[in-house]
């Protein structure tokens, strides 16, 4: 191992790279990791010096609070390959801000940008070869923080670990997506943690998701838990509805994650002169629009899939199929956003950041 530390970050390089063992044409999402990881511990009220070192398992006490009380948050981002081996991030400051909002809600310490952003750039520079050229190829980035302090008493930990791990990914295609509208289960609540990327929000969805899959649906459109009348998110994505030529998406709230893809699509759509109305869409409106033919498109929006078109939805036992349309707005926006991310179109918004 070679030690190549900067002033701010210790670096211990892996003896050899696993990169030649990886089949980049056949990657299953989130299961292959690069040679290194970033680790930074919080103790005695302070963040310690981060270290980049070989990706490997680590030791943890059975009573660590993350295991018992789920005190854990994460982010999901991507790195893209540009010309001349350049590597680009997309709006990384947004992820930092959201990460720290999640941290506050989960009573965890905020992570300074000098660790989150600079750490990310340093590790990405080391793993540059893992970011492959070509539309659809990305390096998925998973920053996360867990409570490592020990003790089975339901109180915030005093010790935390922040980590960044990296996983190469092909473009995410989930096949034809049929969804079911949630009539009973819910993802988030008023006064709850739905607006945080808190670990516990995600496992809470596994069981309802399994029930939906058993009925032949790939995803759930979540509704508000109190009345189940407002359409909120699609699985772990924000959701858009196109009725006639207007795009609708719910405003962010305590129950809805402030997605970076969502807000970028809103800005892009506006620039393209598409009408965007940020307001809650009611289930009843959706049914009426499906019946009278004014419902043209539904799509999820999130970092992993960028845009995920939905072909139909079920509600109260009735399946509503969407029309096959030309000039899908979802696909136009996906194309425009992706080209900005890969530096194939001009980035008039200033969203892309070079590593």
């Amino acid at each position: 191992m070679s030690l190549n530390s900067t002033n701010e970050i210790d670096i211990v390089k892996a003896i050899s790279s696993k990169i030649n063992d990886v089949d980049f044409e056949n990657l299953s999402f989130g299961s292959t990791f690069t040679d290194h990881m970033l680790v930074c511990d919080f103790k005695e009220g302070h963040w310690q010096k981060p270290i980049i070192k070989p990706y490997e398992p680590f030791m943890i006490d059975p009573s660590a609070k993350v295991f018992h009380y789920g005190q854990a948050i994460f982010e999901g981002m991507k790195a893209y390959k540009g010309e001349n081996n350049s590597v680009w991030l997309f709006r990384p400051e947004e992820n930092l801000i959201r990460f720290n909002k999640s941290a506050v809600r989960m009573a965890m310490p905020e992570v300074p940008g000098s660790i989150f952003i600079d750490g990310l750039k340093t590790i990405l520079d080391i793993e540059r070869d893992w970011v492959k050229k070509g539309l659809g190829n990305t390096l998925y980035i998973r920053p996360f923080m867990i409570a490592v302090g020990s003790g089975v008493i339901a109180q915030p930990s005093t010790q935390y670990r922040f980590m960044i791990i990296l996983s190469p990914a092909k473009s995410y295609y989930s096949g034809e997506v049929k969804v079911i509208i949630a009539e009973h289960y819910s993802r988030a609540a008023n006064g709850g943690i739905g607006a945080a990327k808190a670990a516990g929000n995600y496992s809470a969805q596994f069981y309802p998701q399994k029930l939906a899959q058993e009925k032949g649906f790939q995803q759930i459109i979540w509704t508000d838990d109190a009345t189940h009348t407002k359409l909120e998110e699609a699985g772990t994505m924000n959701v858009f509805f196109r009725i006639n030529d207007t795009l609708y998406t719910a405003p962010t709230s305590e129950r809805i994650l402030d997605g970076v893809t969502r807000k970028s699509l809103i800005d892009l759509a506006k620039r393209e002169g598409i009408n965007v109305d940020v307001r809650s869409v009611l289930v009843d409106e959706l049914i009426a629009a499906a019946k009278d033919g004014s419902l043209k498109e539904i799509f999820g929006a999130g970092t992993a899939a960028v845009v995920s078109p939905i072909v139909g939805f079920q509600y109260q036992g009735t399946y509503y199929e969407l029309p096959k349309i030309e000039n899908s707005i979802a696909m136009q926006l996906k194309d425009k956003l992706t080209k900005i991310q890969y530096k194939l179109a001009e980035d008039t918004f200033g969203w892309t950041v070079e590593v």
Copy 2:
């Protein structure tokens, strides 16, 4: 280390015991652990052979699903010392049943009684000396299950680890408990995971709990998230209200944990001829009863503290102090329940189980 395995459980004993280093008079809750732990892995669709071995940290992959998606559940139980070095459990089957309900809700495999109950009895037999005589001394038992499978994709794990760790405890006295009634934050939602002992439910409370503490309140009385009008739980305990001579407690639901202490207190109270009405109490009713003097007691009920009397509550900026009363029903019930648990009173319900 000596190997002393039964047919069903492998046993690797610690070389020496830490027990003489422990000050049993000054224990802080949940921070000291016994010499051994039970570990049982689930993989390839099956539970493997459990092992009891020295308590120690273990290795885990940074991408383990428990860290990213909070797929984790737990139980909280106690062991009590009776005559002649006997060790007793209180309604352990109830914890097994609830654990497996939690498992289903979190899309995790159920744990068979042969692992949960028999494993518990075997490890408690080994740790018998850690269960100290005397009212208030207990060995707190923490069975838990975490998703150890790797991969940063939001899907249920295929690999899990079930563990039991044990922590000696003195009687839990939390001082004078003043509570604040939740007007904004919420613990659980319809269609959510509030009825499961899922890890994520607990860290979700840390931030509101911190805000309450900053205002001088030790706990929050949770209300339903949709209307904040129904009184549901007190911190991580069920809650009882005594108005005149009737005890009220909310029915269990998707939002309320089915507490073993709660249901035992209901049965005990009924046996004592106390009127018990299992129904939601509204905030308005509570305020009215506080004002007209019919509100006599409020108390939390849970394994850790058994019964935790509340001296007053705040709602919409007004603090309501409870009267100092003689013949507290809370204290009577606590006394009766504790005596059954310690085998100092006849167990007509058949609740106690010898190890």
